[in-house]
Symmetry: C2
Subunit: 208 residues, 2 copies
DNA sequence: GTCTATATTTCGATAGAC
DNA sequence: GTCTATCGAAATATAGAC
């Protein structure tokens, strides 16, 4: 408990004091661990990934990781927080809104789509490790976790909206996920044509 | 290798000789293990579930499970096969089809929706354990696994279809998943109103 | 078919040198 | 910050009695 190392007591909080403000991003070891973990957690799943493998891929030993993170779960949480932040920023748009209209939802999904395309690996990892992440979630209700998902459920549950509209809001969200994840081997997600076509589909779905 | 027990060499094949053809389904121990595993794999994930827990919940010991299944993975595979069978039957409809039209896709999704509603726990487990299942998949290319997903990718990749249509086919599939899984806490999946509304949404998505 | 051990292995985590 | 070495805790799987 009395260490003077990066693995400090913040749990999984991203180090907000991004220190080396340079041009050729030095990529801290801490971040390199995160990147490698992201790959492996996605490929094999969190539980099936060992710290040994992460260390091997980075060229040092398992023990070194513990200088940077307190536990394996901490690494996962750090990744989760990265993504969580993106989602929170997206939902920020409709903070304060009493009621969410179909138009607002469409706007929201449009920016969410951009973010997901840009950060697909992160979302993919999340998708493929739902069970573990939800377990960690349960064990950490201490946090400020008015989580993303809670807010989403809140919106989609709003009884002042017709069920029809809520079904379509949910469906349009699913459309994004399916094209980026289910269809990731069938529809080239890098293609420039894809996003506009998906936006069109979403638009049709949300038309009154 | 020379056992005379149910855990025989079939790997994970469902016992196709459904023996006790009675009215009050005796529910074999083999099936009860499967049901319990389904619950736990969904709640906590495959890796985080121990055979001990499964046994506890069933009221006998870990060792007894090994009489019925050769390994923990075998249990997962048996569950996977249950679901796989459903998907194969659904896709059977468009076996022989040179090209899949939007109309055919809509019909397919309609029956898929029925099946998914009826077997939601099974699909939910699958959704929440993608990483493990894909890993097992890789290690078992020996099987007849022209898997479901392969066939799906095949259809959604068909270059003779406009990209626009393929995006919408994929989106409509995602709509089902999202309403049944993402929105499972927001939109009561048991509701009678839900399926028709979802079908309407899918129809709009697939309109030419 | 189910039990009581027990073998075996793997992996997260720590201690302490450098 | 990274290393070697090791501890300790599961958890899968097996052996053999009942």
């Amino acid at each position: 408990m009395s260490r003077s190392s990066p693995a400090g007591a913040t749990g999984a909080g991203e180090d907000s004091s991004a220190p080396p403000r340079g041009e050729a991003r030095p990529t801290s070891t801490r971040d390199r661990i995160l990147d490698t973990a992201l790959q492996l957690f996605t490929e094999k799943g969190f539980d099936a990934t060992t710290l040994q493998e992460i260390a091997d891929r980075l060229g040092f030993t398992k023990a070194a990781i513990y200088y940077h993170y307190r536990s394996k779960e901490d690494i996962l949480m750090a990744l989760h927080m990265r993504m969580h932040q993106l989602g929170v920023e997206a939902l920020e748009q409709l903070r304060e809104q009493r009621v969410v209209t179909l138009e607002m939802w469409e706007t929201l999904l449009s920016s969410l789509l951009d973010e997901m395309v840009a950060q697909r690996p992160l979302f993919l990892m999340h998708e493929r490790n739902q069970a573990v992440l939800e377990r960690l979630h349960r064990e950490e209700h201490d946090a400020q976790h008015e989580d993303l998902q809670v807010r989403l459920v809140q919106i989609l549950s709003d009884p002042s909206l017709p069920l029809r509209d809520r079904v379509r809001m949910c469906s349009s969200l699913g459309a994004i996920f399916s094209v980026l994840f289910i269809g990731r081997d069938a529809l080239d997600p890098g293609s420039e044509e894809l996003a506009p076509l998906l936006r069109d589909a979403i638009h049709d779905l949300l038309a009154p």
